[in-house]
C-alpha cells in the first residue's frame, strides 16, 4: 500500500538535522528566560567549583583546627566560618558538593529513565502490562517515601552508592505516574489520531509523538525533587545509611549544625543555604526548560 506523501517526506528528513534544529529552538527560547539562564549559569559554577575542590579547597575538609571551633562567618582565612570539629566550612562545602550533587541527581536521572519508560508503556499500551505496572506503583505508593528509602537502604546495606539505588527505586513510582498521565493525555490528542489514521506504526507513535511530548512535565517534576533528594540523602546519612563521618555532605553538615544552632547558627545555615540555592536553581532551570520545550507556551510567550 502506498504511504501518504506527507509521512514519507517527514521520514526522509534526516533525524539528525531535525534534532539539532529542535535543540537550537529550545536553546533560543531558554536563553530568553533570564531567570532560568542565570540559574543555569549558577548551577554550572557550582558544579565547576565542586569538581575543582581538590585543587581550590583552601583546607583539608576532614582535619580541623580545634582552637578555632565554631569561629563565625568572616573569620580571617575562614570566610564561611568553622564547624564544631574545627573544620573550615567553605572547604567542606566544596568537597561536600561532590557527594551531595551526585546523590541528588543520579537517582533523578535513573528514575526518570526507568519511570519514564514504564509510564509511557503503561499509558500507551494499557492492558495487562499497563495494569501490572500501575498497580505495582500503587503498592510502592502505599509506603511513605522516606520510610521506603530507609527500608531499601537498610536491606541492601550502607554506603553512598546504595543510597542512590534506594532513592532511585522510591522515585520510580511517582515518575511513572507523571509520565503515565502525560501519555494518556497526549494519546487523546488529534495529532496522534491523525498519525494513526495515516498508518504510522505503534512504536513510531510512541517514540516520535508521545515520548517527546511527555518530557516537559517530567522535567519539571524531576527538577523539583532534586532539591528534596539532598534532604532525603542527608536523612539517610543521619541514620547511618549514607556517607560516614567525617566525609562532608551538605545535608550531613546541616544535621551536624543542629546542636549548635543557638550559639553558632552559621554551621547549619551555610550548607542549608547552599541546598536551597541549588534546589532553586534546579527548579528555575526546570521551569525554563519546560517553557522552551513546549511549542505552545513558547509561541504564546
Amino acid at each position: 500500500m502506498e504511504r501518504p506523501a506527507l509521512l514519507t517526506a517527514s521520514r526522509r528528513a534526516t533525524p539528525h538535522v531535525a534534532l539539532c534544529s529542535g535543540l537550537l529552538v529550545t536553546w533560543r527560547a531558554f536563553k530568553k528566560d533570564k531567570a532560568a539562564a542565570m540559574a543555569g549559569a549558577l548551577l554550572i559554577v557550582i558544579f565547576a567549583i565542586t569538581l575543582a575542590a581538590p585543587w581550590i579547597s583552601p583546607y583539608d575538609p576532614i582535619d580541623g583546627n580545634t582552637a578555632l571551633r565554631l569561629a563565625p562567618i568572616g573569620t580571617p582565612a575562614h570566610l564561611l566560618g568553622v564547624d564544631g570539629q574545627g573544620r573550615d566550612i567553605f572547604s567542606r562545602l566544596l568537597w561536600g558538593g561532590r557527594v551531595t550533587l551526585p546523590s541528588a541527581m543520579v537517582p533523578v536521572i535513573i528514575a526518570t529513565m526507568l519511570g519514564g519508560t514504564l509510564g509511557v508503556i503503561a499509558g500507551f499500551h494499557g492492558g495487562l502490562a499497563g495494569n501490572l505496572i500501575m498497580r505495582g506503583c500503587d503498592v510502592l505508593f502505599a509506603f511513605p517515601t522516606v520510610i521506603l528509602a530507609i527500608a531499601i537502604a537498610g536491606i541492601i546495606g550502607r554506603g553512598l552508592f546504595n543510597v542512590m539505588i534506594a532513592l532511585s527505586v522510591v522515585l520510580v513510582p511517582p515518575m511513572t505516574r507523571v509520565t503515565f498521565t502525560a501519555t494518556r493525555e497526549i494519546e487523546a490528542m488529534d495529532y496522534i489520531q491523525a498519525a494513526r489514521s495515516l498508518g504510522a506504526r505503534e512504536w513510531e507513535i510512541m517514540l516520535r509523538h508521545i515520548l517527546p511530548n511527555t518530557i516537559p512535565p517530567v522535567i519539571v517534576y524531576a527538577s523539583t525533587i532534586a532539591g528534596l533528594l539532598v534532604v532525603f540523602s542527608a536523612g539517610l546519612s543521619f541514620l547511618g545509611l549514607g556517607v560516614s563521618p567525617p566525609i562532608p555532605d551538605w545535608g550531613v553538615m546541616v544535621s551536624d549544625g543542629r546542636t549548635v544552632l543557638g550559639v553558632a547558627p552559621h554551621v547549619a545555615t551555610v550548607p542549608g543555604l547552599m541546598i536551597s540555592i541549588t534546589s532553586l536553581c534546579f527548579n528555575l532551570v526546570g521551569d525554563g526548560l519546560r517553557f522552551a520545550l513546549d511549542p505552545r507556551i513558547r509561541n504564546i510567550g
Partner: protein
C-alpha cells in the same frame, strides 16, 4: 532537720555573696545604694529558701521512656521516671548534694539484718504502707514480686524479666521466705556484699502492686504502673508526655510538687529551645556549646561527677585489635583532655580507668596511658603497622547516656588519624544499635557504650568472661586471671580487701588495653531559676521529693 540545716547554709552563702557584691559596687562609689539593694536581695532570697508546696514541673527528657514496669529493661531516662513511682526495700539516699557514693538507706524495709556469713538478709518491712491502688504492702507482696522474677512455677512468673534480675541482683539467691506478714528473708548461696547496692540501683528490685499485677498481667502492667512511691502515674501519652502526680498517702516525706510532666524531647537543640520558651523547666544533656549562653540567660547549670563511663570496646576476635600493642597504641593516641575541654566544654572528665567515679575502687590518680602520639606510633610500628592501619567503629547517633556519640567519635577519629590509624565510622539509630548487641563484633571491629555504677561490682558485670558468652559477646575479651579476681572480690566481705581486688582487676584490664575509657559524664542539668531544691548525685537518678518551685 536536714533541710533546716541546708537552708541555713544556703542563707549563709547568700549573705557572703551579697557581701562580695556590695564590696565590688562600693569600690565603684555606689556603696550605699548597692548595699541597700544587696541587703534587700539577701532578704528576699533568704525568704525564698523556705520551700513551698504546689506547682507543676516540666522535665524535658532525652528520649521516650521504656516500659514503666519496674522490673523490665530500661536506661537512665526510664529509671528516673520509675524511681518516682516504685520503691525497693532499700534505696540510695539522693538528698545530699554531690554525693559520690550515696549511702544505702531504708525504703520499704524499715530495717534489716545480715547474717555473719553475709548470706542471709532479713528485712523488717515498714508498717502501714499502701500501694497507689490501696493494696497494702507486706511480705506477701514482696514474695509475689520475687516469684515474678525467680519462680518458674509461679503464675506471676515473667520469663523476660527473669534473665535480667537473675543476672544482676538475684544471681546468687538460693531461697526467700515470708517469716511473718512484715518480715521477709532472702538467702544467697554465697556472700554477696553488693546485694543491697544492686537492690537499690536503678530500682529493678522495686515492687509492683500484686492487685495490679493480677488485673493487668505481666505485659500490660507497664501501661498501668502501680507502686508505693511518692508520685503516681496520671497518664502516659507515648511520644508526648508522662504525667505524674503526688501520691497523697505516701508514707515518707511528701513531695512539694503537685505534678511532674516528663516530656520526651530527643533533639538536644529543641530541648534548649523548650527551656528558653518555658515549655520545659528542666533539661538534661544540653549541647555543651549552649551552656555558656544558657548560664548568661540566667538558667542554672548544675553538674557534678557521676558514675557514668563512656567507653570504647575493641573486638578481640580478629586482627588488628587482637594485638595488644595496637590496643595500647590507641590508648596513647587519644587526647581525652582536649576532648573534655574543647568539644565537651567541661561537661565531662577524661577517663583513664574502667571504674567510674563513685565506685569505691575508683582511683583518681590512676593513669596507665597518657596522651602520647609518638609512643602510639612506636607501638604501631612494633606491631607491624609502620604505615598505619584501618578498622571500623560502630556507634549510635543518640541514646540514653550516650552524650554526643557521633561528634565524639569524629573527634577521636581525627586524633587517631594523626598516628596513622584510619577509622571508618558506621553510625546507627539507637534502637537498631541496641538490637545489634550480639553481632557488633561480627559487623564491626569496635563499638562504644555508656554505662556505669557507683559500685565496683560493675566491673564484674562488664569484664567477667561469663558475661562474654557466645550469646552476648561483648568484645570477646576473656582473662582467667581477671575472672578469678572478680569472683573473689564479689564475695569478699572485707571492704578494704574487696576494693583492692577490684583495683587489681582494673589494672589487669587496662594492661590488656581491652577497653578504652573515654570520658566520665558530669551530667549537666539545666533548669529555670524558679526550680529549687534540686540535688545532684553520682547516680544520675534523682529524688524529686526535694524539688519545689519558687513562684515569686
Amino acid at each position: 532537720m536536714d533541710r533546716r540545716r541546708e537552708s541555713a547554709q544556703r542563707t549563709r552563702s547568700m549573705s557572703r555573696r551579697s557581701f562580695l557584691h556590695a564590696g565590688v559596687a562600693g569600690g565603684a562609689g555606689l556603696y550605699a545604694l548597692a548595699s541597700g539593694m544587696a541587703a534587700r536581695k539577701a532578704e528576699t532570697q533568704a525568704a525564698s529558701t523556705q520551700p513551698k508546696a504546689g506547682g507543676t514541673l516540666i522535665w524535658g527528657m532525652e528520649s521516650e521512656i521504656g516500659p514503666l514496669d519496674v522490673q523490665n529493661v530500661g536506661g537512665w531516662v526510664t529509671w528516673r521516671v520509675r524511681r518516682q513511682i516504685y520503691e525497693p526495700l532499700v534505696t540510695h539516699d539522693l538528698t545530699k548534694e554531690g554525693t559520690l557514693s550515696p549511702p544505702i538507706v531504708p525504703a520499704l524495709a524499715a530495717s534489716w539484718e545480715v547474717s555473719p556469713d553475709g548470706r542471709v538478709y532479713t528485712f523488717h518491712l515498714r508498717e502501714h504502707v499502701k500501694f497507689h491502688d490501696g493494696t497494702p504492702f507486706n511480705a506477701e507482696a514482696v514474695k509475689v514480686n520475687l516469684d515474678r522474677a525467680l519462680d518458674e512455677q509461679s503464675p506471676y512468673f515473667y520469663a523476660q524479666l527473669s534473665t535480667l534480675q537473675k543476672r544482676f541482683i538475684y544471681q546468687y539467691t538460693e531461697s526467700y521466705k515470708v517469716l511473718d506478714p512484715l518480715t521477709i528473708q532472702i538467702t544467697n548461696r554465697v556472700p554477696f556484699p553488693d546485694f543491697l547496692f544492686q537492690m537499690a540501683e536503678s530500682g529493678y528490685a522495686a515492687f509492683v502492686s500484686p492487685t495490679a499485677l493480677q488485673k493487668w498481667g505481666n505485659t500490660d502492667l507497664a501501661e498501668h504502673p502501680v507502686g508505693t512511691g511518692p508520685f503516681r502515674l496520671v497518664e502516659h501519652v507515648r511520644g508526648q508526655k508522662v504525667v505524674l502526680e503526688r501520691h497523697p498517702d505516701y508514707w515518707g516525706r511528701k513531695p512539694y510538687l503537685n505534678r511532674i510532666i516528663f516530656r520526651p524531647l530527643p533533639e538536644a537543640a529543641s530541648r534548649v529551645v523548650a527551656l528558653q520558651t518555658g515549655e520545659a523547666d528542666l533539661i538534661m544533656v544540653p549541647p555543651p556549646d549552649s551552656i555558656a549562653q544558657l548560664k548568661k540567660a540566667g538558667f542554672i547549670v548544675h553538674q557534678s561527677p557521676t558514675a557514668h563511663i563512656w567507653y570504647w570496646c575493641l573486638c578481640m576476635n580478629k586482627e588488628p585489635l587482637k594485638d595488644v600493642r595496637v590496643r595500647r597504641a590507641i590508648q596513647h593516641a587519644i587526647d581525652k583532655e582536649g576532648l573534655a575541654r574543647d568539644l565537651m566544654q567541661g561537661t565531662v572528665l577524661p577517663a583513664y580507668q574502667m571504674h567510674a567515679p563513685g565506685a569505691p575502687a575508683h582511683d583518681p590518680q590512676f593513669k596507665m596511658y597518657e596522651y602520647n602520639p609518638a609512643k602510639a606510633r612506636q607501638l604501631l610500628a612494633e606491631a607491624g603497622y609502620p604505615h598505619g592501619l584501618k578498622f571500623t567503629w560502630m556507634t549510635s547517633v543518640e541514646g540514653s547516656g550516650q552524650l554526643m556519640p557521633v561528634p565524639i567519635t569524629e573527634w577521636i577519629q581525627r586524633d587517631l588519624r594523626k598516628v596513622g590509624i584510619e577509622i571508618e565510622i558506621a553510625a546507627y539509630e539507637w534502637q537498631s544499635y541496641l538490637g545489634m548487641y550480639a553481632v557488633r563484633c561480627e559487623k564491626s571491629d569496635s563499638w562504644q557504650m555508656s554505662s556505669g555504677e557507683a559500685s565496683d561490682y560493675w566491673l564484674y558485670k562488664v569484664m567477667h568472661s561469663k558475661y562474654n558468652t557466645a550469646q552476648f559477646p561483648r568484645s570477646y575479651y576473656t582473662n582467667s586471671e581477671i575472672d578469678t579476681l572478680l569472683d573473689r572480690a564479689a564475695r569478699e566481705l572485707d571492704d578494704q580487701l574487696r576494693h583492692t581486688l577490684y583495683r587489681q582487676a582494673n589494672r589487669l584490664v587496662m594492661e590488656d588495653a581491652a577497653f578504652v575509657p573515654i570520658v566520665h559524664d558530669l551530667a549537666p542539668v539545666v533548669y529555670h531559676a524558679k526550680v529549687k531544691g534540686f540535688v545532684h548525685t553520682a547516680l544520675e537518678s534523682f529524688d524529686l521529693t526535694t524539688l519545689w518551685l519558687d513562684a515569686s
